[in-house]
């Protein structure tokens, strides 16, 4: 069963994503900040990260960059959640190596489509 790390500083959004992924049969771990996400990634293995872009402290961009800079997890698919439907943000996300992005507010169904696609491309069984 694929395991997904959900990172968002908003607990409701975090719960929503977690709930949808669990309903779809995925295993979920969560982090409420960039720092916590990096800590999680150093102690356990996940198959994909759903990462909020705008967070206090270490933001999504920085977390993504560190994932790409760390050899063991550099290959992880990362789906960015961005509240700003601005091309610049999307560009920034993709520049630091995000696999895909979803603009808030998003449809859980749509997010699920992107997650499954990313897992399939990474060769992980959903």
């Amino acid at each position: 069963m694929a395991r997904v790390l959900v990172v968002d500083d908003d607990p409701d959004v975090r719960s929503l994503v977690e709930l949808k992924l669990r309903l779809e049969g995925l295993e979920v771990v969560t982090a409420a900040s960039g720092e916590e996400a990096l800590a999680q990634l150093s102690v356990q293995t996940v198959d994909l990260v759903v990462l909020d872009l705008m967070m206090p402290g270490i933001d999504g961009i920085e977390v993504c960059r560190r994932i790409r800079d760390t050899a063991e997890i550099a290959h992880l698919p990362v789906i960015m959640l961005t509240a700003r439907a601005q091309e610049k943000d999307v560009e920034r996300g993709l520049t630091v190596g995000a696999t895909d992005y979803v603009v808030k507010p998003f449809s859980p169904r749509e997010l699920m489509v992107r997650v499954r696609g990313a897992l399939r491309r990474a060769g992980v069984a959903g």
């Binding site: 959004v13 929503l16 709930l19 509240a83 700003r84 439907a85 808030k104 507010p105």
Partner: protein, 681 residues
């Protein structure tokens, strides 16, 4: 008295001459001469008329010398290098009473008498040119007796007689000496009287001139005596003081504040006798109590013993007002935080205010005359100034826009610049520049952007939870729901979407305002239209509206922002679908019209009431029929299209007929891919 002097002296001399003659055992000739002298003198003394006197003298000599013809004249040796001879009386009549022309060589003989100062005796008919006599050019002369009139060794006149009954004798000249002396005295008296008269006239002229000068001077003039009392005033002074100041104390016209100081200055002036080094500024109080500032010069008048002063004063109210206005203007210029400068039309500076110096990092005293405005700008702004701003000012007299100044540390200070011409020296206009530091405004705009970004995030995050959980509930992720619950949740979801749409559009509008100067990229219109068609296709199909695209084979390229253009055309297409009933049609069309690309979105929908047509581009305005039919919308769609059109230097227009449909037309400037330009400005 001056008038009596000449005659009195003359009389005395005549008496003296008379007595001498009596004493010298007078001959009959001498007696005759004495009688003649007495007659002439009596005549002159009693009448004082030189004309009569000349004639009497001449007649006396003609008689005593038994001559037929003669003359008497004055000699003036003083006024010029050449002696002047003026005939005063002449007897030149023949025996028949007709005038006989004087012998043409008489002038020559007069000259000889004047030159030698001695009597000239030609006893009877002689041909000129013999002996000491200069050669004449005319015939012989019938005797000549030339007699110099000498007074105090000065030649004052010459008498000449000719054509004697008996030849002239040298002794005759000697015998006539008393008569000649008397004549000379009279001539001298006449001359001195005349000179005195001339001097009197000249003096009177001078006095009249000085009085006129005093009276017509535009400045107020007061003559003040040693006690400070005004003794004379001119009309300007009377007018300025509003009263005749004569007999009043001059200090009465000085304001209380200055009275003491001025009194002391006047006293010092009288003591020293030197004029003031420079004019005093005195507050002069008029008779009616009004005061005015007067620039006043005071000088002692040097005349025997009297301590008089002359005061000359001028009302300088206007000048002081003007000076104050100039000073205030200069203060305002220097207090202004803006960069204010002027100079020649080619940008050479003459003046830069304090604010400008601060902005450009120049000291307060650094001269700017050697500098050009362009020297104070970063390179791009200097080029822009030379190539755009200055030519525009030269041609149209004004330019306004954004530019930059190079700050103290070389950093760029963004400014809004207004450049315009002002009247300069002579015929050449000057360049004036006012530039305002935009740093703060740009910082505020950046804050606004950050705020918008945060608001966007803060609004979207809760919507994510609202819409996400709703979707899960509707999908039955939390267990089955009945129809009524499903309907209610649908309404909540629809309104969540509506709220999201509103947020998106407000943000889009805000961004359009901000991104006016974004770089322009080449945009292929047909590609944008195809993306819009794809995006709107599902919605059109759901609504039962036919969506068609009509673009030419020609590739239409405009310079712009592809996202903005897609948003605008998408808004038009969405509107078309939204307001077109089932079975209708929406057409997306693009074509070239001269050098303009036209995008048209035409629908067969409900149309817009004519009364609403003017306002459809206003923010949040919704047509009355859209509201009555409960068609959802924010009222921002067309405002966004309008903003996009403006950002691209294009236009948008709308034609509509209720019940028949609406056509919105967007025009954009065509551009080749190589003509990607920077917009804005």
């Amino acid at each position: 008295m001056a008038d009596g002097w000449g005659v009195g002296q003359l009389h005395d001399q005549a008496q003296a001459g008379f007595a001498d003659a009596l004493a010298a055992d007078a001959s009959p000739l001498d007696a005759v001469i004495l009688r003649e002298i007495v007659a002439v003198q009596r005549e002159y003394v009693s009448h004082g008329d030189p004309g009569t006197m000349w004639r009497l003298l001449l007649d006396a000599v003609l008689r005593t010398t038994e001559s037929s013809y003669g003359f008497i004249g004055e000699v003036d040796l003083t006024e010029s290098a050449l002696p002047r001879f003026e005939t005063r009386a002449m007897r030149w009549l023949g025996s028949d009473g007709e005038p006989v022309p004087p012998h043409p060589d008489i002038g020559l003989l007069i000259s000889q008498v004047i030159a030698t100062g001695e009597p000239l005796v030609l006893p009877s008919t002689v041909r000129l040119g013999d002996g000491a006599i200069e050669s004449g050019r005319f015939g012989p002369i019938d005797g000549f007796l030339g007699l110099p009139l000498t007074s105090s060794e000065r030649l004052v006149g010459v008498m000449g007689v000719t054509a004697p009954a008996r030849p002239y004798r040298r002794e005759l000249a000697a015998a006539l000496q008393p008569l000649l002396s008397a004549c000379a005295s009279i001539v001298e008296a006449i001359q001195s009287t005349r000179a005195r008269d001339r001097a009197m006239v000249a003096l009177e002229d001078t006095a009249a001139f000085l009085t006129a000068l005093f009276d017509s001077a535009p400045d107020g003039l007061l003559v003040v005596d040693e006690a400070g009392t005004v003794v004379r005033s001119n009309p300007a002074a009377r007018s300025m003081l509003g009263v005749e100041p004569v007999d009043r104390h001059v200090i009465d016209f000085v304001s209380d504040r200055q009275r003491r100081a001025i009194e002391m200055r006047l006293a010092r002036l009288v003591r020293s006798g030197d004029p003031l080094d420079e004019p005093l500024m005195i507050e002069v109080v008029r008779a009616d109590g009004r005061a005015f500032p007067a620039e006043t010069s005071i000088a002692p008048i040097r005349r025997g013993g009297g301590g008089h002063l002359i005061a000359m004063f001028r009302d300088v109210t206007d000048r002081i007002e003007a000076q104050r206005a100039v000073a205030r203007a200069a203060e305002i210029l220097d207090a202004a935080p803006d960069f204010i400068a002027w100079g020649t039309i080619d940008g050479r500076l003459h003046y830069l205010n304090r604010g400008g110096r601060r902005m450009a990092g120049l000291s307060r005293v650094e001269p700017v005359h050697e500098r050009n405005l362009a020297d104070l700008c970063p390179p791009w702004a200097a080029r822009h100034l030379r190539e755009v701003v200055l030519p525009a000012v030269a041609e149209e007299g004004t330019w306004a826009g954004e530019s930059a100044v190079r700050g103290a540390d070389g950093e760029e200070v963004p400014v809004s610049l207004a450049a315009f011409t002002i009247a300069g020296d002579g015929h050449r206009p000057y360049l004036a520049v006012v530039a305002r530091d935009l740093t703060d405004r740009l910082a505020v705009e950046e804050m606004k952007d950050a705020l918008m970004s945060n608001v966007s995030h803060e609004l979207r995050t809760p919507l994510t939870s609202i819409i996400g959980y709703l979707e899960l509930m509707i999908e039955g992720s939390f267990g089955p729901i009945n129809d009524e619950q499903a309907e209610a949740l649908d309404i909540v979801l629809r309104n969540g979407d509506r709220l999201l749409e509103l947020i998106n559009e407000i943000l889009q509008l805000a961004r359009l305002e901000r991104d006016r100067d974004e770089p322009r990229l080449p945009v292929v219109l047909s590609e944008v239209i195809e993306r819009v068609r794809e995006a709107v296709a599902v919605r059109a199909a759901d609504a039962g509206v036919e969506l068609t695209v009509d673009v030419p084979d020609e590739v239409l390229v405009v310079a712009g922002d592809p996202h903005q253009l897609e948003m605008a055309i998408s808004n038009l297409a969405t509107n078309g679908v939204k307001f077109t009933p089932e079975g209708g049609r929406v057409t997306l069309r693009a074509f070239r019209q001269d050098d303009v690309a036209v995008v048209e979105v035409e629908d067969t929908g409900i149309g817009i009431p004519p009364d609403d047509l003017d306002r459809v581009f206003d923010r949040f305005f919704r047509a009355t029929n859209a509201r009555s039919r409960q068609i959802q919308g924010t009222g921002l769609g067309l405002a966004i299209v309008d903003a996009v059109a403006r950002n691209h230097g294009g236009t948008v227009s709308i034609v509509s007929e209720p019940g028949r449909g609406t056509t919105v037309t967007l025009t954009l400037s065509l551009s080749g891919a190589d003509q990607v330009v920077r917009g804005g400005g």
